[in-house]
Symmetry: C2
Subunit: 360 residues, 2 copies
């Protein structure tokens, strides 16, 4: 794994995990599954693959201190803070420049902090072989997950012909990226067998990304070029502060991946979930006979299909169906399961009122 680095993007605020996820203690610090914060699990998954010096975390500037504390095995300079959030394209450019300044032949594996995976041996093989493909072919590799069901919550990648590589993992030419589909479309994708979930994991040589940015997003390429000498001279943070806020907010998918023609897809055959909502997260825990999933203390009488996070407090449900109930120390969230993706609306409404700042 010469020249290979991993970048964990941990810039999200996790508003859909309010009230346990707050601005000062967002989702990636939650330790509800597996007993460890998500950010630490993301770092641990790389054990044996890369030394800690080659693992970078990009997060919000205000979360750098907390992140350093959560993953003490990383060098402190490997936790980089964005002055403002500018979505994933900017974070990818920044992280790739950070690597390029250290190693012009560097190859970057882009990961995110808020995913849950199993079959870690397969996962690590996928990253290792994706790096080999990216380094050898001057291509950008995206990891597509074999869909477990017809999800309408993920984007998809359509795979084309087999990409020549002889290893444990199969690679395909990526034909196109498609947005989150409606249910019928999603079912068609799964039936036809050529579509894979876009897991937001990418692998590229820094030189390959630089070329793509120059072609599709010149402002990001220019930032990349200016960051290189700044990183080497120790004026990295000042340079970021000077120009990061001016960047447009755009995802790497939309800015580059959907437009480039040199994309290869690794077929991800490990179990993966994005844990974007409370029900999705708690899906990873066993349910009782009535389908209630509980973290903490809950008495569920004539109640079914609920998702309850109730640590240090007893939640009693009577005749309640398909609801999410989450208690934080001083706040409680209640909504139907099928509204869980809208929890950020509550956070935004409270924020707009200027109310309960210490709870947001």
């Amino acid at each position: 794994m010469q020249h290979v680095y991993a970048v964990i993007m941990a810039g999200g605020r996790g508003e859909r995990f309010w009230p346990l996820s707050t601005a000062g203690h967002p989702k990636q610090f939650l330790d509800l599954i597996g007993g460890k914060p998500l950010i630490q699990m993301a770092v641990d998954r790389l054990a044996g693959l890369l030394p800690p010096e080659r693992v970078l975390i990009v997060t919000g500037a205000d979360l750098v201190a907390a992140t350093r504390k959560a993953v003490p095995q990383l060098p402190v300079s490997n936790i980089v803070g964005e002055p403002v959030a500018r979505d994933t394209a900017a974070a990818c450019a920044l992280a790739s420049a950070w690597v390029a300044a250290r190693d012009p032949q560097g190859c970057v594996i882009i990961l995110t902090a808020d995913q849950i995976m199993e079959d870690l041996d397969v996962y690590r093989a996928t990253l290792r072989e994706s790096a080999a493909v990216a380094q050898a072919g001057g291509v950008m590799v995206t990891i597509g997950i074999r869909p477990a069901f017809a999800s309408t919550g993920f984007g998809y990648i359509e795979a084309g012909g087999r990409w020549p590589y002889d290893g444990r993992i199969e690679f395909f030419k990526a034909l196109r990226f498609v947005e989150k589909p409606d249910r019928a479309t999603a079912e068609g994708y799964v039936d036809c067998g050529r579509f894979y979930w876009n897991a937001g994991m990418f692998v590229w040589a820094v030189s390959t990304l630089r070329t793509a940015l120059g072609r599709f997003r010149p402002p990001l390429a220019e930032m990349f070029d200016r960051l290189l000498p700044a990183i080497r001279s120790g004026s990295f943070e000042a340079q970021l502060a000077a120009e990061y806020a001016k960047l447009e907010k755009i995802s790497i998918d939309y800015a580059v991946m959907e437009k480039a023609d040199n994309i290869v897809m690794a077929k991800g055959i490990f179990r993966w979930d994005d844990v974007g909502t409370w029900p999705a997260l708690l899906n990873h825990l066993p349910a009782d006979q009535a389908g209630n999933v509980v973290l903490g203390a809950c008495e569920a009488l004539e109640s079914s299909g609920n998702v309850v996070v109730s640590k240090g407090r007893l939640t009693a449900l009577l005749g309640v169906k398909d609801m999410v109930v989450v208690h934080a120390e001083n706040a409680t969230l209640i909504c139907p399961k099928d509204r869980a993706q809208d929890i950020k609306k509550i956070v935004q409404a409270l924020g707009a009122k200027g109310a309960y700042k210490d709870l947001l």
Copy 2:
């Protein structure tokens, strides 16, 4: 108001008001409406009508100390503890004996602790004139409330011909007591105009009650007779302990009122509510535009018709309709509004498990 006493029955556990109502701090100590515990409001309503020495509270033996603290204006010996709960017939016999031992010509107004009333001037006039009717006629007076709507949650009294009495309040011969009706029957009751809510308030001379007990419930009459000398000699509590547990559990309605033929109904034209459930209690507070009633802090987004008690904690609702949410310090109850009368099932289920004793 010579010879008149009031008895406030406060023996209930208020399980439908869990988790704020617990065995050690039941419903009558809740101060959610009006800023005072219900038991104190019940005593306060008698101000100007009776001196404190003539107000008796019958409660559970384990609640005597807390009750004395909640109503310090009463003499401590006026708070009497039942060794075990034996429903209202036993409590009425006990209380009437307590009065009879002090005043053989005594007249007792039976009230309960967990009601909410308005128009207190009318309320007091009703009690005063009911006592006069009971004292004059050797009858038992029951107060019937002019129904505000076709409630299926209360029993009804059918009024017959006018009872001769010239005062502010009208009295009628009570023809019969009927159980909680179904909706159609309740609507018929309200339409016909002869039916009144049975508010569980009764007025009788102690001698009248003794006669009725002798006729309909001899074991209660015998206890009444044995309690008289025991109360006078100071061995009241020992006598109660010796025989109270052996009594059958039966309501005064079923034991006496439904069977006696000397019942007169006072027409109660004050506003009255039994506050038997969380929604009924919070009905007495103003609702927001979406029909949510909140005590404490609640952000209700796209949510309507909810009843929320959230003191010292923010409850955020998203897309939640017609639910009851009540937080106590270490427990939270959630149920649909139309299941609020079954909350005791939760308390019983937890009790049967021997779990969370300190929360029940």
